[in-house]
């Protein structure tokens, strides 16, 4: 999903001054891309909704700190990605699971050849989904992902390679590598 949202400077200025209508306008402009990012990374719609809410709570509370450097979407997206990754880390800590574990699969789901890409993507581990989405779709560098995840650049690169290898297997593609 490509986001090319241009937000008028005057709207941002009003939001920074605490204007509630302007803050709501920002929410309406970015709620779908934020939810989409969260939903692609999180395992359930409920978790993605919580990330959406937590993201905008932070946005409305700290919009004054946005200095206008770079696109506003980049600033909001970073908050959303951080919230999503924090939630994944917390959930894994609670479940005492390593971050890069492959999921066990969902009840009733058949993993095999010829499933579509969207379903195959859902079968990746939380960490693999995060890395693939942030790198391949949102355009984050491995350095940025490593910083967001508190991991090394090589961790991000190896996660991306493992994820693509698994996607290829799930999609029944390729014979080597």
């Amino acid at each position: 999903m490509t986001v090319a949202l241009a937000v008028p400077d005057v709207l941002v200025a009003r939001a920074k001054a605490g204007d509630q209508a302007a803050l709501e306008a920002l929410f309406r402009a970015f709620e779908t891309p934020v939810y989409n990012l969260a939903r692609r990374i999180m395992r359930t719609p409920e978790d993605a909704e919580d990330v959406l809410q937590e993201t905008f709570l932070e946005v409305v509370r700290s919009i004054g700190q946005y200095r206008g450097e770079g696109h506003l979407w980049g600033w909001i997206r970073r908050i959303a990605a951080t919230k999503a990754l924090m939630r994944i880390r917390r959930d894994h800590l609670r479940a005492a699971e390593p971050l890069d574990d492959e999921p066990a699969g969902r009840p009733g789901s058949q993993v095999g050849a010829n499933i579509d890409l969207e379903r195959a993507f859902e079968h990746l581990s939380d960490t693999s989904r995060s890395v693939v989405w942030l790198h391949d779709v949102e355009g984050y560098t491995h350095e940025e992902i490593a910083e967001l995840m508190g991991k090394s650049v090589s961790f991000s690169k190896s996660q991306l390679a493992r994820a693509h290898a698994r996607l290829r297997r799930l999609l029944g593609e390729g014979a080597h590598a």
Partner: protein, 195 residues
């Protein structure tokens, strides 16, 4: 025959591949097909439809924002109340009559503001439902109070000149006026809910 690994393919895509991988991809049709498939997968991921939130989460965010503002107001109220006593004492001690009068007015406005904050807290019970019109009015008044609080933050610490004091008194009096209107809206709503 040795083929490209997924690491090699990703490195090729990023323009960071080894010399061996760059040479190999030129001669190996299978690896070129793998690289094409990688590009296609990524293009398909980018083309997935946007998923939209099933429920509107703005009301929750808005209420949290109002809660923040209410807490800030209460902080200001407490700050104003405690400073009111200090300002009153300062007013007594000051020699210049004009300055003393301003400080007395300032102390009075702050005391009124603190009293209204207390009144507001009594009526501002969570969980009560506002009509749309009342909610809009409350939001507008809260926004205007927030603007005044912002101005007080900027100028509140500088009370060394009569002109600045006069401006401070004016701001506090405006705040009292808005607080009175806010309390009136809340009281009206409370009576309405109580029917």
């Amino acid at each position: 025959m040795m083929h490209c690994t997924m690491d090699d393919l990703l490195a090729l895509r990023a323009g960071e591949a080894s010399v061996w991988a760059r040479k190999h991809i030129e001669t190996c049709a299978a690896c070129r097909a793998e690289l094409d498939a990688l590009y296609q997968r990524v293009a398909q991921l980018k083309a997935l439809p946007a998923l939209r939130p099933p429920r509107d989460r703005w009301p929750v965010v808005r209420e949290a924002l109002r809660g923040d503002r209410a807490r800030r107001r209460r902080t200001w109220g407490a700050w104003g109340g405690s400073l009111a006593a200090a300002a009153a004492l300062a007013g007594v001690l000051l020699v210049r009559p004009n300055h003393a009068a301003l400080h007395a007015e300032l102390a009075q406005a702050k005391e009124q503001s603190a009293t209204l904050e207390d009144a507001l807290q009594r009526y501002d019970v969570d969980g009560r439902v506002l009509s749309g019109r009342a909610a809009a009015l409350v939001a507008d008044l809260e926004d205007r109070i927030a603007v005044i609080d912002g101005a007080l933050t900027l100028g509140g610490g500088r009370t060394d000149a009569p002109a600045q004091d006069a401006q401070l008194v004016k701001l506090w009096q405006q705040r009292v006026d808005l607080m009175q209107r806010l309390v009136t809206v809340r009281v009206t709503r409370a009576r309405y809910v109580g029917l």
